[in-house]
């Protein structure tokens, strides 16, 4: 029925060029190929000859469809004038499938935005709600939990620990991965491919497969004089080896793309080998270094496994925010209100959110190049 009536509707109400075109061709697909000239004439007609076009539409549609679906279109024709916006939209959509896809696109975009952002909204609601009447719209409003989280536990110290660990690991990884990426990207030597595969193989093993011996080592069970547990070292070392393969990979790709001529020129000028690396190659591949740096920083800041297990979880034990938030959560709602947990989480999310907003291009290019160019 709708399919039957759409043509006349659009001709009546919109005076739409495509609509009237489709009428002339028997109400089927809009003929887009010849659109240019025909549209012009149809539009010119529109103003003066609406009446006749309407009559035309009524009869033509009726006759064209009579053999297929057709029952009386004529009487229905008048009722259609009063159709709702939605119905009109549906009708015009059927005549123009592209419109349906566009609508689908907006619905999908809205859906993805709501599903990704709603959890943050709920966290905000919980944080600013006074008492325990949590509802979709907060009935009361307070910012006290954002202060309280810093009072109840040493959250500033946890934040500092997290940022420090992430920065230190990133620096270490970038230094070592710059050297390794240069070697793999620019030098030809026996054992290059096997070594690269070996390094890549690390990122495939689950952290649990490294954990037991490292825990024994860091708690002083292997060498009594060597103990790192509850120090930054116990976290920075596993983090570096966990995330270095990706950085090596990204930098190998970037270094490989720099033309040989530039390095040769620097060498002819008399630069040392390391001088050529740090004064010519590294500056030229700055985007790659930045990418690897951003990804490593985010990865370390977000890491859970070693962060949770390699310290006792206290702020003084160099535990990152994982320690602080888990401590709040395990204390339970009678010790710590849910609002404080939510406030802490929001504070913890701020640095990475900022980083994503600033460096999203780097993140996208780094993720895709690191994962896809094998």
């Amino acid at each position: 029925m709708t399919d039957d009536t759409h043509a006349s509707t659009s001709a009546h109400d919109d005076g739409d060029a495509q609509g009237s075109e489709s009428l002339r061709t028997g109400g089927g697909d809009p003929v887009r190929a010849g659109g240019g000239t025909q549209t012009g004439s149809a539009r010119a007609d529109g103003g003066t000859r609406t009446g006749s076009a309407r009559a035309d539409g009524g009869t033509q549609t009726g006759s064209a469809r009579a053999d297929g679906v057709g029952t009386a279109t004529g009487p229905a024709g008048d009722a259609e004038l009063k159709r709702s916006v939605v119905q009109r939209w549906v009708d015009s959509t059927i005549s123009d499938p592209e419109k349906a896809y566009r609508a689908m696109f907006y619905v999908a975009t809205l859906f993805f935005l709501v599903t990704t952002l709603f959890p943050f909204y709920w966290m905000l609601v919980v944080a600013v709600t006074e008492g325990s009447n949590y509802a979709l719209l907060p009935p009361t409003f307070t910012l006290a939990p954002f202060v309280e989280v810093f009072v109840q536990i040493n959250f500033a110290r946890y934040m500092f620990n997290s940022l420090f660990l992430a920065t230190a690991t990133t620096a270490l990884v970038l230094l070592l991965a710059s050297l390794a990426g240069y070697v793999f990207g620019r030098l030809r030597f026996p054992g290059r491919r096997p070594l690269m595969l070996l390094i890549l193989a690390i990122s495939y093993f689950p952290p649990a497969a490294f954990f037991l011996p490292l825990f024994q080592l860091f708690t002083g069970n292997v060498f009594p004089w060597f103990e790192l547990y509850n120090t930054p070292g116990a976290l920075i070392l596993p983090f570096s080896s966990l995330f270095m393969p990706l950085s090596i990979f990204i930098l190998t790709t970037f270094y490989g793309q720099i033309p040989d001529g530039l390095e040769d020129a620097a060498r002819v000028e008399g630069t040392t080998r390391l001088g050529a690396l740090f004064r010519v190659i590294v500056p030229l591949s700055a985007p790659g270094v930045a990418t690897a740096g951003v990804l490593t920083f985010i990865a370390v800041y977000n890491e859970f496994f070693f962060s949770f297990l390699m310290t006792d979880g206290g702020a003084k034990d160099w535990a990152p925010i994982v320690g602080g938030l888990i401590q709040l959560q395990r204390a339970g709602q009678f010790e710590v209100t849910f609002s404080v947990m939510a406030a802490g989480s929001i504070v913890a999310v701020l640095p990475v959110t900022l980083l994503v907003v600033i460096a999203q291009e780097k993140i996208v290019s780094g993720l895709t190049s690191g994962a896809l160019k094998e």
Binding site: P119, F205, Q216, Q329
Partner: protein, 335 residues
């Protein structure tokens, strides 16, 4: 100019110049290995040594009472005992399900990990594809939509856990009890969803999908952008509908990328641990493979040998899954 400077240094510091000269005289291979030394040293101590050590530990018996880390050398006995279920009485949760009931599937490490992995990777691929298609369009505000989609991926696992804890914990949760969107009235969740095996698995799966779909979306987007736009124009002129264009052009070209992205996600999902702790579900309720390693190691009875064996079995299971992908990938290539 640089030469002049290094000559200037000569007079001042002998050892530095000696070092530079020594390095200049290395062959390319020697130079390569020289530069790799720090990275390899670090990886050797913090990655390769622990891996070998874990394997070695897995060949020794548990030492429950003594002070030594492990007991006698037992060869592959740990592997046999764990896979046949002989060790189940001692372990916090079984590795393989004892029976094929739903309850057993959700309380044994291997099956619950597989349920988690397959479900979450499936939905991440599906939703990620949708997100990639949206991001592949040109529209106003695309940059901000992309930021919104990436942000869940970029937040700490502990915050992700906290969010879903605040969704489902009693007295606060939006989806439980008196919450505005309570699912319990619909009979979907039990009274304490974070403490029941099936419900908590569902929650952890949803949490994982929420966070990591963006990774999938970005990889698929990269694949989409490598498609030659001319192909679409040709198809459009020949009268192909958008769906046909998607099916005949986009899908075949993007499929290899999708497979690689799925492989990466599968490897990561098989190691799931953080989100289980961070939602306060805990390893007792949802014993994933990584969980089982940790709870055997730190649990009431100290099962170091068993923990190491489970760690290696986890790696083996992942290797098996990787193999399946590679075979599938090779077949796609042949076709």
């Amino acid at each position: 100019m640089a030469t002049e400077r290094s000559e200037g240094v000569t007079e001042k510091s002998g050892p530095y110049v000696a070092f530079v000269r020594w390095m200049e005289n290395l062959t390319e291979t020697q130079f390569a290995y020289f530069l790799l030394t720090p990275a390899l040293l670090l990886l050797g101590v913090v990655a390769f040594w622990p891996l070998l050590q874990t394997f070695q530990l897995s060949l020794f018996a548990d030492n429950i009472t003594g002070s030594a880390t492990v007991g006698n050398f037992v060869g592959l006995e740990n592997y046999v005992a764990i896979l046949t279920g002989e060790r189940n009485a001692l372990m916090p949760s079984p590795f393989l399900p004892e029976t094929l009931t739903v309850g057993a599937l959700f309380t044994s490490a291997l099956t619950v990990t597989l349920i988690f992995t397959i479900t979450s990777v499936f939905f991440e691929t599906l939703i990620g594809f949708g997100q990639a298609l949206v991001l592949n369009q040109d529209f106003k505000g695309r940059r901000w939509v992309r930021v919104a989609i990436i942000i869940p991926w970029a937040i700490p696992i502990v915050v992700q856990g906290m969010i879903f804890y605040l969704f489902f914990a009693p007295n606060v949760g939006l989806f439980v009890g008196e919450g505005a969107l309570s699912l319990q009235g619909l009979g979907i969740l039990s009274d304490s969803p974070l403490q029941t095996a099936q419900d908590s698995t569902l929650i952890v799966i949803v949490a994982d999908i929420w966070k990591t779909t963006a990774f999938m979306a970005l990889l698929i987007l990269a694949g989409l952008q490598s498609v030659n736009r001319d192909l679409y124009d040709v198809a459009r002129v020949s009268g192909a509908s958008p769906w046909q264009r998607f099916k005949m052009i986009t899908l075949p070209i993007v499929l290899p990328t999708v497979l690689v992205a799925m492989l990466f996600r599968t490897i990561q999902a098989m190691r799931v641990y953080g989100i289980i702790e961070a939602t306060n579900v805990g390893c007792n309720t949802l014993p994933s493979l990584s969980c089982l390693v940790i709870s055997s190691f730190f649990g009431g009875t100290r099962l170091v040998g068993t923990a190491a064996t489970v760690a290696f079995l986890t790696a083996a299971v992942i290797a098996l899954v990787v193999m399946v992908y590679i075979v599938f990938y090779a077949q796609e290539d042949v076709e």
